[in-house]
């Protein structure tokens, strides 16, 4: 089963995806995770309605849905990994469509940066997401983890010591 986090990790690092999917997690001693949770929990406090859609194939948890304006909101701490966030929200829109919920757009909110990005789903995106989902299945079902990626952000990744020791 694929979920939003998998999509995120897929674009971030396939090894991360594999380790995470196999439940090989590092100790959660990262302040980042903590702060991330806080921002997500408090920024949208008043109209907070987490929406979950879970079936055999997909699982998504959206931070907030504005039904009237047909907008899916996603809240993020930092806009450093914007590209990833965009794909995550596109995937949400894709799953909504699969359920027959059409015409939605996405909005990624970065409260700290006071910034928001609009996201729409194109035909091209739909094909890409289909391929990505297949790819994800292949990755998480492979016996060995994918290799380390040697990117600069590895140093900030919770798996850094595990990957490079």
């Amino acid at each position: 089963m694929v979920n939003g986090v998998y999509i995120n990790y897929y674009f971030h690092c396939k090894r991360h995806l594999w380790l995470f999917a196999r439940n090989i997690r590092m100790e959660h001693n990262s302040e980042d995770v903590f702060i991330g949770k806080l921002i997500s929990a408090y920024s949208f406090d008043r109209r907070r309605h987490e929406i979950q859609i879970v079936d055999d194939e997909d699982a998504i948890v959206m931070d907030f849905i504005d039904k009237n304006r047909k907008v899916v909101h996603e809240i993020k701490k930092s806009n450093k990994l914007e590209e990833l966030h965009i794909w995550q929200v596109k995937y949400y829109l894709y799953v909504l469509e699969k359920k027959g919920i059409m015409g939605f757009k996405g909005l990624i909110n970065y409260p700290k940066q006071k910034r928001a990005i609009k996201v729409e789903l194109s035909d091209e995106d739909r094909t890409t997401i289909k391929e990505v989902i297949d790819d994800i299945h292949e990755i998480i079902n492979s016996v060995k983890p994918p290799p380390v990626i040697n990117k600069s952000y590895c140093k900030k990744c919770s798996y850094y010591e595990f990957c490079y020791c």
Partner: protein, 331 residues
């Protein structure tokens, strides 16, 4: 946030309890409160009363508690329910135990790590000359490790190498201390008492690190999986006993921080007095907190962290991605 976490050692007798988000320790004279988030692991040497409320709290916070008896011997650890569960890792651990070839491959690395530790220590700490033939002999044992096809003979090689190493202790230790033969249960002289005590510190340090990974502490390779001990911690401790444990002992004896006065003798036992335990624990703790530049990670890591990295390497071996090579001291 969690960098402030550390190991706490309780020597006095008293009462441990929970108060809000803290662990309280109360003795006749004093009252101490430790925020639970500061505690990495807890060592109890004193006679301590503790209730389930406190135990539950410690367990819930993932704090491993080690308990020692009157003589300072480790008697058990409270190993909380695992938080970092991954069926994947446990299955592969078992797979590597059940397959003889896979098992011995890992076991050999533990023995090699231990023997390398002996060699490094003899080279670095000798004050009287140690004959070439001793190093040749140890080298020989190292080569023999690869040829052993079953666990008992592998254990035998390790035992021989260890005997040779212990025989050289008089060339390392600058105090006149009685040390005929390594006797474990119960330690009968000062040196044996010291080794046993320090080894239990290494063992418990490894155990705590295992708790912080997905590894199951009871599935082991060199030692038989055992219901009385966390045998994987015994395995991994083999590597760190010479480098972390014995080196602490050499330093303490050679600068006379520990002398005969720190020991008591019973009819059959020899054991460290409280004053001695405190000195040893402090020295060992300092060792664990020492940092060193890690070549591959390109960052400073503590000796304690190196134990964790060793476990990560083992996990990667179990996942089939990188052949495990045991730790060699690089500094």
């Amino acid at each position: 946030m969690l960098n402030a976490m550390r190991n706490y050692y309780i020597f006095k007798s008293g009462r441990l309890s929970r108060k809000d988000n803290s662990i309280m320790f109360e003795t006749q004279e004093e009252f101490k409160s430790i925020p639970v988030n500061d505690i990495d692991s807890l060592y109890i040497f004193g006679e301590v009363d503790i209730n389930t409320k406190a135990l539950n709290f410690l367990a819930q916070k993932g704090i491993v508690v080690h308990i020692f008896n009157y003589y300072g011997w480790w008697t058990g650890s409270l190993y909380p329910r695992e938080e970092l569960l991954a069926g994947e890792v446990v299955i592969r651990q078992a797979e590597h135990y059940l397959d003889r070839n896979k098992r011995i491959e890992i076991a050999r690395e533990f023995v090699k790590g231990a023997i390398h530790g002996f060699v490094y220590n003899l080279k670095r700490y000798k004050h009287k000359d140690i004959g070439k033939e001793i190093f040749q002999q140890l080298d020989n044992y190292l080569n023999l490790v690869n040829e052993q096809e079953d666990i008992p003979s592998l254990m035998g090689i390790e035992g021989n190498a260890r005997d040779l190493y212990y025989d050289m202790f008089p060339n390392i230790i600058r105090q006149d201390i009685e040390f005929d033969k390594r006797v474990k249960r119960p330690p009968n002289n000062i040196m044996n008492a010291l080794i046993s005590f320090v080894n239990s510190l290494v063992y418990t340090a490894v155990l705590k690190e295992i708790y912080r990974t997905q590894l199951n502490p009871t599935i082991s390779y060199l030692h038989e999986p055992s219901y009385r001990r966390f045998s994987l911690a015994l395995d991994v401790a083999e590597i760190f006993k010479p480098i972390y444990g014995d080196r602490t002992i050499f330093d303490l004896l050679n600068n006379r921080s520990i002398t005969e006065d720190h020991f008591d003798k019973d009819l059959n036992y020899c054991y460290l007095k409280e004053t001695g335990r405190k000195i040893v624990v402090k020295a060992f703790e300092e060792k664990l907190n020492t940092t060193i530049k890690h070549k591959k990670l390109k960052r400073n890591v503590s000796y304690e962290r190196i134990i964790r990295l060793e476990l990560y390497k083992l996990i990667k071996h179990l996942l089939g991605e990188e052949v495990y090579k045991s730790f060699r001291i690089w500094w």
